[in-house]
Symmetry: C2
Subunit: 214 residues, 2 copies
């Protein structure tokens, strides 16, 4: 198929497809004539995946490239795939404004109290600590029960992530879900949390809207 | 204090502070001379908050403006504040590539099954459905137990969010936490989930690193 058809099939604007191409996020098509390139189903799936990582997952172009590179390396050890997945988190690599020491210590303290087996160079520490710093700017010093509830939520999701991995057949299928599931689990949770908040605050802060689901 | 001091106090690069100012995200300082403007503690806190929303929360400039506007409106009803908080989700307003109908129906189905009281125009539906679409591009059709685990996690966090709101004194303090807590709960969860994943996959996919916390 031509590039215009590729865009239509992937339900993605043509300008976006050309942009992905220019940024090296798509495999080359097949040259069928000097001015003509043919694309196939693999390209359609790749365009959809790139869009999901960039738009829904909120990854940068650079991180998306790393993610695709490790997926395209057929024999990358799963431990390495896992590490790339762990680092594919929106702000983990912008060193200009690191989290405060106090926030980092607080996260480490709760992780140790929960008995989790994790290393302090896990990028999640930095991301979670920055969120605490952000909450502190409005004078909210997250109490233990708040943090522990978020940790319980995180553990529930992580167990579901691992169970999902174990349901996949073959190394490639596992590697794909390891990376994409890690990235897209964030917006999945974010969306469901908005819905759960509406349920939890139903009586406290009612929002006048149409189209109730229940 | 001068703008350079403001930047230092807020631990934010001066270029970033000037950028926030140009984008109208900071209140004006006090003109103390034709070429001199003075800033105070309020500006320091605002710079930190803006940085948290943009960098940690991943919000766009436009959404950050909306969030700050509703916080700066002293008499905005809490239901309105809540609605702005709900919409302050990274991709909820980019209409070019909406979620598939199938994914939207799937989320609605599980929300109804869980008996949650929520409306379908809640932006969380779109975000969660897009995540499902992204997972489908690698052939992972999220099974019920996976989705339900994420819903349980979301409900756990939402209950903690509401409890935290109830611990705040006064309308302004509640409104602030409603918005900032909604935005920063996402990266808090994302960070903790990375740590929980390392714990959950400890034996399955060990990552060779230093600095164990436990």
């Amino acid at each position: 198929m031509r590039i215009s058809e590729l865009a239509r099939e992937a339900a993605t604007p043509l300008t976006a497809v050309k942009y992905y191409q220019r940024e090296g996020l798509l495999p080359a098509g097949e040259k069928t004539a000097p001015n003509q390139t043919a694309y196939d189903r693999r390209h359609v799936e790749r365009v959809r995946l790139v869009r999901a990582l960039l738009e829904t997952g909120g990854l940068s172009i650079a991180v998306t490239k790393q993610v695709l590179a490790v997926l395209d390396t057929d024999d990358a050890p799963l431990a390495e795939v896992f590490e790339v997945a762990q680092y594919a988190i929106t702000d983990s690599r912008s060193p200009e404004t690191p989290a405060s020491r106090a926030a980092r210590a607080r996260i480490e303290d709760r992780v140790t109290a929960a008995g989790w087996c994790a290393t302090t160079d896990n990028p999640g520490h930095e991301t979670a600590a920055r969120a605490l710093d952000g909450l502190a700017t409005i004078g909210f010093d997250a109490p233990d029960d708040y943090l522990d509830a978020y940790m319980t939520a995180a553990a529930t999701a992580a167990r579901a992530d691992v169970a999902a991995l174990q349901s996949r057949d073959g190394r490639d299928a596992i590697a794909e879900l390891m990376v994409i599931g890690t990235v897209l689990g964030d917006p999945l949770f974010a969306g469901l949390r908005r819905i759960a908040q509406q349920d939890a605050t139903h009586d406290v802060f009612p929002v006048a809207t149409d189209g109730a689901t229940s």
